[in-house]
Amino acid sequence: MKVTADDLKKIRFFDNYTDKQLDTIAAISSIKEFKVKDILFEQYDELVDVYVLLEGSLSLGISLANDKRIHLGTIEEGQFFSWSAVFKPYISTAWVMTVTPAKVISIDAKKLNQEIEKDCDFGFKTMSKIAQTISQRLSDTRFQLMNQLTL
Amino acid sequence: MQQYKCIKKEEWDKVLEQLLVSHTIFASTDSEFGIDYELVTPAVISRIIYNKPKPATPLKSFYLPVRENVTSEAGGAKPRIILGIPNCDVEGLSLLDEIYLDKEFYDVYYKKRRDETLMISSDCFGIQEHCHCLSYGIKPFSTGNADLAVIKLEGMMIFRILSGKGEDFISKIQGILPLTDKELINIIDKEHNSTEALLKEKNKGLPDYKKTGTLVTEAKKEIWEKYSATCVSCGACTTICPTCTCFLLIDKPGFEKVKQLDACQYPGFERVAGGEDALFELHTRFRNRYMCKYAWKPEKFSSIACTGCGRCIEACIGKINKNELFMELI
């Protein structure tokens, strides 16, 4: 399904981009739909797209050696994920699966990286947003860890 | 010109003997154990000393017993007279008044003791080794807060009236006359001045009270670790301090409560039910007391939280000297 700049304007993650930059992103994006218990990607998969969740709820976690899935967190509407697709070696650190039927915006990571290199302003904005997401994820993970380690 | 009243010492001793019928009297005496309060009986009267600093027991002990039942009826007791209180203790009582006579939550037991006690302060002619009241703005003689101040000089007992209660007491004594002998008044002034001079000389360089707050707040961890090296958390400093009042409420059957003096120096003072203890390490407890006295209480209360009496230095079995600490912080 095609994506337009107006579609992106409604999503908090894409605020601050210029109209031209939004057009660029829209051109390399598409909307994907998933059913319940669909796996978007597995831990250690090579990732080619980054995503923003539009509707529904996804679970994120890691797998143990015996293939047991540990559910670590929930991805909520509006959140950006699959950031590993932007950075070498492009390998996912976790699996992501649907909890409810879901709709995501999928952005071609290779083309996104090309745009980041071409346009400094776009590159800075995009990297800042990704850094912000990862930083929050790290903070939440530390909090979760401290919860387990202490009373 | 300061107004004094006077009476011959022999007459005063007779007055005391008469008062014993209706009052419990504690007075400062000297013994093999040092200067301290003693419960007065007719035999003790001749041993009462005046103007020599200072009783080891702080005044707070008369108002805050180590242990008391705070849910039973406040017992009817004889009115009390405490004779020979140094001014450092008198000033320290102001902080206790602010805490225990607070309008929203006032302690009936403390109030009763305050109401039924007459406080006779004794001007200090001379100092003890660790006295430093003047460094904190406290004079070695009372000009308020107590009911009377007393000086023994050349066979005369000379009184300064400091409150309505004191005025009332004096007016009932037969034979009390205004002091007119200018010589005696000069001697009193001289003694005041020389005591202050001794204090200034002994405590040169000690920071004044206002500065202490900043000094302890900015002090580094190494200072606390250094000075608490010999501390064993015995709590002597808090027990003997005229302004330390932290306590525990202990439950007894029948929903009775016993209030018992506690100390922030004891391990577990801030331990919570789940086991966490913010002051687990000894040097943090040591620092806590300084922060409380010099930084935090001054923010909360208008009365001074350290009167410079120096008892904590004398009492410490680890020989920790707070004045040495402050001199190092400067």
């Binding site: 559910h71 939440d140 909090f143 | 006032y106 302690d107 935090w296």
Partner: protein
């Protein structure tokens, strides 16, 4: 000046004990004397002859004939409390401290961040807010517990989501097989809520770690320091501003708190210990 003895408790009959989760029970008490509190204030609840401990009532401040106190089994006194049966008398001293200033929330959106046993005082706050909901824009509760079993007052969430102007979201650190709601720490719920920060106040109540991370996130989101309300639990003992056990810097938590704004605490060291 009150002439009542400040140390003497009033008696209250324990009429019901509700099991919330393995370590948590709610006690329903009927005080023998008139007793009223403001939401966020605390009481010292005692077991006859054993000891007392501070608790923030979890019932509505508008219900005055009975009182509910949610108790987590943590130490000596609470362990004995958990063994009590209805019919015994307990002692109550209080109410003490500064509660939540709900009158200042009029016309605003209220975001509540709760964790673990912090839901107890929050439940009382929610009742108080429900009482004045015509004057509020919106109330959002984000609550996190370690596991689904640790989540107390389970029926509360459904009820809130069916109440006009209220929204409630739950998350757990570690889900079980049946859990279908969010997983992760409570701050991650802040990603999905919609709130007008310029016209909002935030209330945070839970374990120290949660309060620390929660406050950091709220500040990042743009909440003003004097509009973040923190419920500081700190070893309250006498409740009267006298015994010194709850001193946190220059504050007595029992008198100046337990509800503080972040603004008041930001320069006080070690508040999260």
């Amino acid at each position: 000046m009150k002439s009542k003895n400040i140390y003497k408790p009033i008696k209250a009959k324990l009429t019901e004990v509700i099991d919330e989760s393995p370590p948590i029970k709610t006690f329903v008490l009927i005080p023998e004397e008139e007793f009223a509190f403001k939401t966020g204030q605390f009481i010292e609840l005692s077991v006859d002859g054993i000891g007392e401990a501070p608790f923030t009532p979890s019932s509505s401040p508008h219900v005055t004939d009975k009182l509910e106190v949610t108790v987590m089994k943590t130490g000596y006194v609470t362990e004995i409390m958990h063994k009590l049966n209805p019919g015994v008398f307990m002692g109550i001293r209080g109410p003490y401290g500064r509660g939540y200033p709900v009158e200042t929330f009029f016309g605003k959106e209220v975001l509540i961040l709760g964790g673990g046993c912090g839901l107890a005082p929050i439940r009382s706050l929610l009742y108080a807010l429900e009482h004045i909901k015509d004057h509020l824009e919106k109330v959002i509760l984000c609550y996190g517990s370690k596991t689904p079993t640790d989540c107390v007052y389970k029926p509360l969430f459904n009820r809130l989501n069916n109440t006009d102007k209220f929204e409630a979201y739950r998350t757990v650190d570690k889900p079980d097989e049946e859990w279908s709601e969010s997983v992760g720490v409570v701050t991650s719920l802040l990603n999905k809520i919609k709130v007008n920060i310029a016209n909002s106040v935030a209330v945070v109540c839970g374990p120290p770690i949660m309060m620390k991370f929660g406050t950091i996130r709220l500040l990042e989101m743009g909440y003003k320091e004097d509009l973040i309300y923190l419920s500081m639990e700190k070893n309250m003992s006498c409740g009267l501003g006298k015994c010194g056990h709850c001193m946190m810097g220059e504050y007595f938590v029992c008198k100046d708190g337990p509800v503080f704004t972040y603004n008041e605490l930001k320069n006080t060291p070690d508040i999260w210990k």
